[in-house]
Amino acid sequence: MPKSERIDLYIKNVKKTWGIFRTSKIGVVGMCILLVFIFMAIFAPYLATVPNPTDQENFEENHLDDGWVNPMPPSFEFSPYTGLMHPLGTDHLGRDIYSLTIYGARPSLYVGLMATLISAALGTVVGLGAGYFGRATDEILMRTTDFFLVLPWFPLMIVLMTILGQEFIWIIVVIGITSWPSTARIVRSQVLTVKERQFVERARAVGSGDGHIIAKHIMPNVLPLIFANTVLLVSLAIFSEAFLSFFGLGAKGVVSWGTMLEGAYTNGAFDTGAWWWITLPGMAIVTLVLGFSLIGYALDDVLNPKLRKR
């Protein structure tokens, strides 16, 4: 098939899938939520009231005699000290909550996407290997997968983070290497059915190698199906990051929604009733995870032909 024709076919497929996806209301809602957060992450400096909220210069200091005590409740007045507005108050260090939340979209999305990339790559390689080569390879890879599937992954993440140390990169790696087994299982079961199809047999008959068959014939038929699962993994990764941060194992020097909530909890925001400190980061986590879940479910509907006729 010439290249231009192949691209045309590809575009046609994408259009068709998008056409079905668009009919799903929850999918479109999820997509809108995701776009809002991506917009937030990219244009954070323009949306925030405080341009660089983690910069020491932009912290409000305590002025006990004036009655300015951090955490400050929301107000639309400009601070007399730094000249900044804090529409949703400040935290215990005098940082602007609203701006921190806007900037917090960056680490969350970054962890979500990178960790999922690692996990999807690992899962796909293991699943492809096990499904395609079968026999001993299958047995070894699947027993390993089963083993990782029964390991309690929340405690495993905690233990690994404690051992490795609180670096941003380790958070991504730890989430990535604890969430791949489900992908491996899905990929394997799909490969098992695809490799029995006639076009694979024909490719082998004309002398194609394993590498060629996997790359050109098996992968294109397997990847769409793991897509829905991958989107759900993103929400799981964002969740895990928030959990690790709240547990006190978040990356040092990175302000994410999880670390904001951890700060609020350890500094007694809940006893003093500092609602502004938790509402925004809390809502941000819930909305973003909800967005990814909605897209995941909608994709499941779209890509799963059995459900489509419902």
């Binding site: 309690p152 405690p155 905690i158 709240f246 909305t287």
Partner: protein, 329 residues
């Protein structure tokens, strides 16, 4: 293959996996840089350090150490804590914590399964109508909310009222207030525990329930489109019987599988809830151990949680074969 063979095979697999987990657990904590006995040997002379290392078998080659570890795990000896003083035996530290966690998780999971399955059932039966929309919005919101966040919200809402105790597993009685647990009678202890459990159980149950409800609903809507349901309807079987005898038995199968997989999730939920409400269970202990970098306790905790997940998986397998006689793997 009959049921007994199936169970035997499962149990053999369980022991192989258990051995793999113990091995993993042993070597995982050996990646740590530095000397494992460091916490015990600070400021001692070289001779003393040697003696202490000898006592912990640290002067032996790794495989011999692994042998000692295996023997000790199977005799229930988890060593001593490096952060608690006096150097507490980890077994003694763990037992009361395990009891507390099992109470919380047991009540919470039972409620979550019951409520989740019920909610999912009603949503699926009235698919596309108001019950479905409201129920699923409710479930999806809780599903997207980290457990600790919901627990924190509960904590904040009830902090002002003083209706429920906010911290600990025992110590307060309704209408009376704080009482020394050692002076309570048996009944008072039970009441006090129940009183302290209310908020953690609410937080835990609602979070776990959401996932079960969503899966139950999706699985049941799937089954309800099958031809044999239409047949049943055509021959005049009452709705309640279609649901109970025809649809639910098949629809429950994927739910059981998901429950088995989500045990790791359940444990995560417990850790968060215990942390927020300072409930003295395994989750709170994990947090304390991480904070103090108490690796002996962390190692024991990881092993216990892994074994709990293994056992839960075995139970799920047995339930699955009970629900679906066709499965004879």
């Amino acid at each position: 293959m009959d049921f007994r063979d199936f169970i035997l095979r499962k149990i053999v697999y369980l022991f192989i996996t258990l051995f793999a987990i113990i091995t993993f657990n042993f070597f995982l904590f050996r990646i740590l840089p530095g000397d494992p006995a460091r916490a015990f040997t600070k400021g001692l002379s070289a001779d003393m350090v040697f003696l202490i290392r000898e006592k912990f078998h640290l002067n032996d080659p790794p495989l011999t150490q692994f042998y000692y570890y295996l023997v000790q795990v199977f005799t229930g000896d988890f060593g001593i804590s490096s952060s608690l003083f006096p150097r507490a035996d980890i077994g003694d530290v763990l037992w009361p914590r395990i009891v507390n966690t099992v109470i919380l998780v047991g009540i919470g999971t039972a409620l979550a399964i019951y409520l989740g399955v019920t909610l999912g059932k009603y949503a699926a039966w009235r698919r596309g109508r108001a019950t479905d929309t409201v129920g699923m919005t409710f479930a999806l919101t809780f599903y997207s909310m980290p457990t600790f966040l919901f627990a924190l919200v509960l904590l904040m809402v009830f902090a002002g009222t003083g209706w429920f105790p906010l911290r600990g597993a025992i110590g307060e009685l309704p209408f009376i207030g704080r009482v020394d647990p050692y002076e309570m009678s048996l009944w008072e202890r039970i009441i006090s525990r129940g009183y302290h459990l209310i908020l953690p159980v609410i937080a835990f149950t609602l979070e776990i329930m959401a996932e079960f409800a969503i899966i139950m609903r999706n699985s049941l809507t799937d089954v309800l489109t099958e031809d044999y349901i239409t047949t049943a309807r055509a021959k005049g079987v009452p709705n309640s019987m279609i649901l109970k005898d025809h649809a639910m038995r098949n629809a429950l199968l994927p739910v059981v599988t998901v429950m088995a997989i989500s045990i790791g999730w359940v444990l995560g939920g417990t850790i968060m809830v215990e942390l927020v409400f300072s409930y003295e269970g395994l989750g709170k202990l994990t947090w304390d151990a991480v904070g103090a970098r108490d690796y002996p306790i962390l190692q024991a905790l990881f092993l216990i949680m892994a074994v709990a997940v293994l056992v839960a998986n075995l139970v799920a397998d047995i339930v699955y074969t009970y629900l679906d006689p066709r499965v004879t793997v």
